[in-house]
């Protein structure tokens, strides 16, 4: 195999990465801009980060975002896991195909429609829009993502593990908590992380379902940008990027280490 760096390969990589990361790099660079003008470089400074932490509006929005993210991700994980269990385990119940289609439909549903229909529902039921409706909406759309992640793990789950546990005297509920749950936990955790990430950066559905006093960070940024991009917003975005990047890198490092450890163990076992 020819693995040398041909000119074509280099061009393809440079173009691809530029396409993906140039906007982000620009944003990060300009967050350290001394000048108040977003597109003109006026020297290095961290003053926008300082002023960001004094911007009460942005800080409140960040706090709302984190709370909504934590609550909705947790609820979505519980519901999504239950849905995945039902769909993989009880394959013979009536209307299973319809039900599984309905669970996954929100994956491809345009966000505008999800948002609008939730809004109509909340109005019809007479729920005042705010933190509660926002959280409900986030649970609704992120639940199906959790279900997909957990279901893909459950499909490869060896049912004989559960049978073995029952055979050894563990009733079904105990079997679930002592065997099934620990084994599928990594999938549940990554489902939670996915739900949390989706919740944090959602704008469309939040705009429909939120009310006064429950403005999320993306909503706040969007509304401020309409008045003009300030370096403060760049700084806020840079922090968000840093948090997400750290999370992703940490998760993949943990995974990688576990994989390496596993390979080493297996080799050791082969040697006897």
């Amino acid at each position: 195999m020819n693995s040398s760096w041909s000119r074509f390969n280099i061009t393809a990589i440079v173009l691809g990465f530029a396409f993906l990361y140039l906007p982000i790099v620009l944003l990060v660079i300009f967050s350290f801009n001394e000048s108040k003008l977003v597109t003109v470089w006026g020297g290095f400074s961290t003053k926008w980060y300082v002023s960001l932490f004094h911007n009460q509006g942005l800080m409140d929005a960040a706090w709302v975002t984190i709370r909504v993210g934590l609550i909705s991700a947790t609820m979505a994980t519980v519901l999504g896991t239950l849905a995945a269990l039902a769909l993989t385990r009880y394959t013979r119940f009536r209307g299973r195909v319809l039900f599984s289609g309905m669970v996954f439909a929100p994956l491809v549903m345009p966000e505008v429609i999800t948002g609008l229909s939730l809004l109509l529902l909340f109005v019809a039921v007479g729920l005042d829009r705010g933190f509660f409706t926002l959280t409900l909406a986030h649970i609704t759309f992120s639940m199906c993502f959790v279900a997909v992640v957990v279901q893909s793990r459950l499909v490869t789950f060896d049912r004989s593990l559960e049978e073995a546990a029952m055979d050894l005297g563990a009733p079904p509920v105990k079997t679930f908590f002592q065997i099934t749950l620990p084994v599928i936990l990594p999938a549940i955790i990554s489902g939670w992380m996915l739900a949390f990430t989706l919740s944090i950066d959602d704008l469309v559905i939040s705009s429909f379902t939120s009310g006064p006093g429950a403005t999320t960070l993306p909503m706040k940024i969007y509304s401020q940008v309409r008045l003009g991009v300030t370096p403060e917003i760049n700084a806020a975005c840079t922090i968000l990027i840093a948090i997400v990047a750290c999370g992703v890198i940490a998760a993949s490092l943990v995974n990688k280490r576990r994989e390496v450890q596993r390979l080493r163990d297996e080799q050791a076992a082969q040697r006897g």
Partner: protein, 379 residues
């Protein structure tokens, strides 16, 4: 103390009319939708027996085991264990334990925790659990691996952990689903004997499911041969091999030559059979085959002698040509084509390094066998 051999030789409760079966399948049928996995099957297994369910895949043997463990309920019929009807009793309340084909070791637990799992469910005191786990690890010779996780073990070690976990609770019956299926040949042979020793030591009833007839023959006291959810024959390994009850069993277990034909003559000393393709065979074992009935004469390859010269005397002598030779090291299998075109397999043990009578391809050869070497099959 009696030797293992004596125990095994004397052990034959199925021949005693007053012996009470320990496990009883009574007219058990199991259907999955339109598919009948087990069809009106009755079977008795005795206490301390090493019982093998042998059959090709899809014959219903695993379904039988799973019904005994409680993972499936029979569609109709009854399963009794020590006189108690098992219907409606969930797997976690049955006094049987199972060793799974995939071993089903809990991946997030160490070897120790795996073995202790069942004991914990019973609420056994901690000190006792520790003692029992230590005993079990010693029994399967895995003491130094107690703290390892299953993925840190080799295939053979995992098999032992699965075994230790299944016997830790001292079940009345141990069910083994293809217990040696995932091991390589050498290890499988060793483990067979270890399983037999273990069964004797613990005095348990073993029910093993296997598709490997050698495995079943080596280990089991009795074998049930299954086909399409029905029992074809239940007998000791020697009976199954030497006195198969039907064409299916004869063909399924080991190698065999079959001559389809009619009983031409029947008398007190045996019968004469003329096969459809014109071979006449004299046999002493004719069973209940009546004169004129359609039968098959079946004979195992090792009971047929091959020679380059016509044997002086022999009950059945036929002339042919060497069609093919399979040299297996310990023995050689000759495929001899008879005058009528039928190919007969005959194997001879290579007792000496060089044969004084080497037979080669296309050589003229004679096959011969005694008149008590084969059996007549009516079914």
């Amino acid at each position: 103390m009696k030797s293992l051999g004596n125990i095994r030789r004397e052990f034959a409760p199925w021949n005693k009319p007053d012996a009470k079966p320990y496990i009883q399948f009574k007219n058990v049928t199991k259907r999955f939708g339109d598919f009948t996995a087990v069809n009106n099957l009755s079977l008795s297994i005795y206490e301390r027996e090493f019982f093998a369910l042998l059959g090709a895949s899809g014959c219903g043997k695993s379904t039988l085991l799973r019904m005994l463990a409680g993972f499936e309920e029979p569609t109709s019929g009854q399963i009794l264990l020590d006189g108690q009807d098992l219907r409606g009793i969930p797997p976690y309340r049955r006094p049987v334990n199972m060793m799974f084909q995939s071993y089903a070791l809990f991946p997030h637990m160490t070897v120790e925790q795996n073995i202790a799992f069942g004991l914990k469910q019973d609420g056994m005191p901690k000190a006792e659990i520790e003692q029992r786990v230590t005993d079990m690890l010693k029994l399967v010779k895995l003491g130094q691996f107690a703290k390892r996780k299953p993925h840190q073990l080799s295939g053979g070690q995992r098999q032992r952990v699965a075994l230790a976990r299944a016997v830790a609770k001292r079940p009345k019956v141990l069910l083994l689903d293809e217990p040696l299926g995932a091991l390589d040949k050498k290890l499988r042979e060793e483990t067979q004997f270890e399983l037999m020793d273990l069964q004797q030591t613990l005095g348990l009833t073993f029910v093993v499911v296997t598709h490997d007839q050698e495995e079943a023959m080596t280990m089991a006291d009795r074998i049930a041969i299954l086909d399409k959810g029905e029992v074809m024959q239940v007998a000791t390994p020697a009976e199954v091999y030497e006195a198969p009850g039907s064409r299916f069993v004869a063909d399924f277990v080991g190698n065999i030559n079959m001559f389809e034909g009619k009983v031409a003559d029947r008398d007190s000393s045996g019968a004469t059979i003329t096969s459809a393709n014109g071979v006449t065979i004299r046999t002493a074992n004719a069973g209940d085959a009546a004169a004129g009935s359609e039968v098959a004469f079946a004979i195992r390859p090792e009971k047929i002698k091959v020679s380059s010269k016509k044997p002086e005397n022999g009950d059945n002598v036929m002339e042919g040509e060497i069609y093919d030779i399979a040299y297996l090291g310990d023995m050689t299998i000759f495929h001899v084509q008879l005058g009528n075109g039928q190919v007969v397999k005959a194997s001879s043990l290579n007792a000496t390094r060089a044969t004084e009578d080497p037979l080669s391809w296309d050589d003229k050869a004679w096959i011969s066998f005694r008149n008590d070497a084969g059996v007549v099959l009516t079914r």
